[in-house]
């Protein structure tokens, strides 16, 4: 039992989607990281500006360190509208001049010079960004480094970062969707030769074992080569088998003929009724066997001819008439009305006269054996670029449901009757080999069950 695997398309698209999702996740993470860095950078400048302004305001007046807070520094920080501001001004002695006494520097003040040093911290339970700057005082009364610590909450930064990240994410999402759609299209396009190959295999005639002639991409050519190699071997085996069947049939024919002759020599007058009945059965079976052997031979012959013989224009009417004569026995029940109709114009098809005759004989023979009660009509007709040989009988016919397997070898619709249905198979194979088909028409009120051998008209005839 062949397990059903996921399609190549879904496998490929799934993997592409997986790669894209991982890529998008990495990109969004990177975007978030950069956005945060950018937001920090942007708002650190505000802090830096404010820190510079505030350090400028540290002065020593008459031996006392004074600080004149510039309101503009806070206006600058106020550009990050929602953020809270904490600050502390420390004298060189470590004394807090003004601001929040409990705001920790967070870093080693000894290392801080006039360039602001930034770090992130938590103050009063909220995350803050802290800038620490120093100012060298060289007054005899007050000397050393005074420090200014400014802390600002990070709401504006977080918002800017999330906005930037959101925008980047939207772009990444759009790109991913586009890439996925593009990949899906590309995969679909790339897989089309596989579908084409499948279609070529599927639409092939069941009996066609010639190499595949489908243009495929390089990746698929080993596959096609394998198929062709396999078909080649199969073809060889088939031919061998056919030759074996033909040879067997041929070998069978001689003893069968002898058997029939011997059976016919039996004097049935001296037999009891029971024995006579048995003899009749033996005679019938021998005849059937003989016919079947002939069919096998005819089948083998048809196949062989198409393998070797060139197709030539053939007068279909002529072939049909010959077949009609051959198939309808002289000893036919006189109650059965048989007729043959053909158009006045010559109907020409490209084919092989012998095979055609064999095909038509088999169809008529089948009709006589299994269909006809009192009427058999054989008609040659043309129409719609096709030549047709209709064989109609007034028997019960077959239902449309059976049509499909009628042309298979050794199937019979009437099981148990012992008729091995090679007839339709032969006719169908001939029709297929000549580019036509064997069709069936169900019995209706107007006409009986009809078998139609359709063949394309020869081009010259049509023009």
């Amino acid at each position: 039992m062949q397990s059903i695997e996921r399609s190549l398309f879904s496998r490929l698209v799934l993997r592409v989607a997986l790669v894209l999702a991982v890529g998008a996740a990495i990109l969004v993470t990177a975007a978030w990281y950069y956005a945060r860095a950018a937001a920090d950078d942007a708002y650190d400048r505000l802090l830096q500006g404010a820190a510079f302004q505030m350090t400028e305001s540290l002065t020593v007046e008459e031996g006392t360190l004074t600080f004149d807070l510039p309101p503009s520094a806070f206006e600058l920080l106020g550009l990050a509208g929602r953020d809270r501001i904490f600050y502390r001004v420390m004298a060189p002695s470590g004394r807090t001049l003004t601001g929040y006494d409990d705001l920790p520097p967070g870093i080693d003040l000894g290392a801080v010079r006039s360039n602001p040093v930034f770090h992130s911290a938590v103050y009063r339970g909220v995350p803050v960004r802290v800038a620490v700057t120093g100012r060298a005082l060289s007054d005899p009364a007050v000397s050393g480094w005074a420090h200014i610590i400014i802390a600002q909450t990070t709401e504006a930064r977080a918002e800017l970062a999330s906005q930037l990240t959101l925008r980047a994410s939207v772009l990444v999402a759009i790109m991913s969707v586009l890439a996925l759609a593009g990949s899906a299209l590309a995969v679909r396009y790339s897989l089309r030769p596989v579908a084409d190959l499948g279609e070529a295999l599927r639409s092939r005639d069941p009996q066609d074992l010639t190499p595949l002639a489908v243009a495929v991409p390089r990746e698929l050519s080993p596959f096609v080569a394998s198929i062709n190699h396999f078909m080649n071997r199969l073809d060889g085996r088939m031919k061998l088998l056919q030759r074996f069947v033909a040879d067997s049939a041929h070998q069978l024919r001689t003893p069968l003929t002898a058997l029939s002759a011997q059976v016919s020599l039996i004097n049935d007058d001296s037999l009891s009724d029971g024995d006579r009945r048995h003899l009749t059965r033996v005679r019938d079976r021998a005849a059937e066997l003989s016919r079947f052997t002939n069919q096998l031979l005819s089948h083998a012959m048809v196949i062989h001819r198409f393998d070797s013989a060139q197709l030539v224009p053939v007068n279909l009417t002529e072939a049909a008439r010959k077949a009609f004569r051959a198939a309808v026995p002289i000893t036919i029940d006189p109650d059965i009305v048989v007729s043959f109709e053909a158009p006045d114009d010559e109907v020409t098809v490209l084919g092989d006269a012998l095979s055609l005759r064999e095909a038509i004989v088999n169809v008529i023979d089948n009709a006589l054996r299994h269909g006809t009660i009192s009427r058999l009509e054989v008609r040659v007709a043309t129409g719609d670029g096709l030549a047709m040989v209709d064989v109609e009988d007034d028997g019960p016919g077959l239902s449309a449901a059976d049509f499909d397997h009628l042309t298979r070898r050794f199937t019979s619709t009437k099981s148990g009757e012992g008729s091995a249905g090679l007839g339709f198979a032969i006719a169908s194979e001939v029709a297929a080999a000549l580019g036509g088909a064997l069709r069936f028409r169900e019995k209706t009120g107007a006409h009986g069950f009809t078998v139609v051998l359709e063949l394309p008209l020869h081009a010259q005839e049509r023009s």
């Binding site: 004149d68 106020g78 929602r82 809270r84």
Partner: protein, 361 residues
């Protein structure tokens, strides 16, 4: 017609309130209209007369709510709120103060609760910080003069004209000019600080003139206005338009001038402290103050000025206060923190006091 009706109603309400509320010092209790379900404690640095119509109208919407109103001087309110925040508990459910710098400082120190008010959308952007401090009024700082004492030719229309008037006629106006004592009044300090920021030169000249004219310093709006009404002083500087207009309505001789060079605009702040015992009710009152109804009551009965409507009748001033750029709103935001810096404040007050106390020459 409608306006007169509204005024009548307001008067009736005022009379009724006068009967209903029990005054005990600077605390007033507004009993609920129906069975009392909750008590809202308002701690305010805002005149009770201004807030009364708003409180009473709020009780129309919330009839089960009693309101306890405590009036403070701005600095006292700030000290109490700071202490409450440090200790983690305090008596006020909601704070109102004209000294918005103090409220901003409280919010910056994490003493304010955030309340995203659905009514704040129509309010100007400069009157909201972090959804913690909202400005709910529009109050220009104005000159008030006694029209019986100041001849029309002397009436100043700009800060410059006021300074020139005092220089020109020092004898007439000596001891007849009144303003806040910035050390005692938070709002006085805030206005002076912003004057110094907006127009340092003019303000310097003005202070010098005040000093020459031996200006009278009083702690609060009411007292300065009272001195004008008494006839002790003739011109009052930097009075909040709302109080001035209320005084004008009582005594039409007190005329109001909105300066034509620049006019500071204060939006009185409201804030819910973290120590509130009644968060939902406080938020409801805040929403009411910012709502259209609250704003209408404020405009008609309490604070009279509004950003969206023209100056009230009888007020002399520029036609388009905001569009012309004359109105300079004091933005509620972190820049106000500078005003609350300890050293800056001490120096500013010391400088101011020394400037105004003795003439420079």
């Amino acid at each position: 017609m409608r306006a007169t009706l509204a005024t009548l109603c307001a008067l009736a309400l005022l009379l009724f309130a006068g009967v209903a509320s029990a005054v005990e010092g600077d605390r007033v209790f507004f009993k609920s209209k129906q069975a009392q379900s909750a008590v809202l404690t308002i701690h305010a640095a805002t005149d009770l007369d201004a807030m009364r119509p708003l409180v009473l109208d709020f009780q129309q919407i919330a009839p089960g709510v009693s309101v306890e109103f405590a009036d403070y001087v701005t600095n006292d309110l700030f000290r109490e709120a700071e202490q409450a925040c440090r200790q983690g508990s305090g008596p006020g459910d909601i704070l109102l103060s004209s000294s918005v710098d103090q409220l901003v400082k409280l919010a910056n120190d994490g003493c304010a609760l955030q309340h995203v008010s659905p009514e704040a959308r129509s309010a100007p952007a400069w009157a909201d910080w972090r959804e913690e401090v909202y400005g709910f009024t529009f109050e220009p700082a104005v000159f008030v003069y006694d029209s019986t004492k100041v001849p029309p030719g002397d009436v100043p229309h700009t800060h410059d004209e006021l300074a020139n008037l005092l220089r020109r006629e020092p004898e007439v106006y000596r001891g007849r000019i009144g303003t806040y004592d910035v050390a005692a009044s938070g709002i006085g300090y805030l206005l002076a600080f912003n004057d110094a920021r907006q127009a340092p030169t003019i303000y310097g000249r003005l202070l010098e003139s005040f000093s020459r004219a031996e200006a009278v310093k009083r702690c609060c709006n009411a007292e300065v206005l009272g001195e004008v009404a008494n006839g002790n002083i003739r011109i009052a500087y930097n009075i909040l338009g709302s109080y001035a207009y209320a005084a004008y309505r009582k005594n039409p001789n007190l005329k109001i001038v909105v300066p034509r060079d620049y006019a500071l605009i204060l939006s009185r702040g409201v804030m819910i402290p973290t120590t509130t015992g009644n968060r939902d009710l406080a938020a409801r009152f805040l929403d009411y103050l910012l709502s259209e109804r609250g704003q209408r009551v404020a405009r008609e009965q309490a604070f009279f000025f509004s950003e969206k409507s023209p100056l009230p009748d009888g007020v002399d001033g520029p036609a388009a206060l905001m569009e012309s750029g004359i109105g300079r709103p004091i933005r509620i935001g972190p820049a106000l923190l500078a005003a609350q810096d300890r050293i800056l404040r001490e120096r500013f007050i010391a400088d101011w006091a020394s400037l105004i106390a003795k003439p420079l020459n």
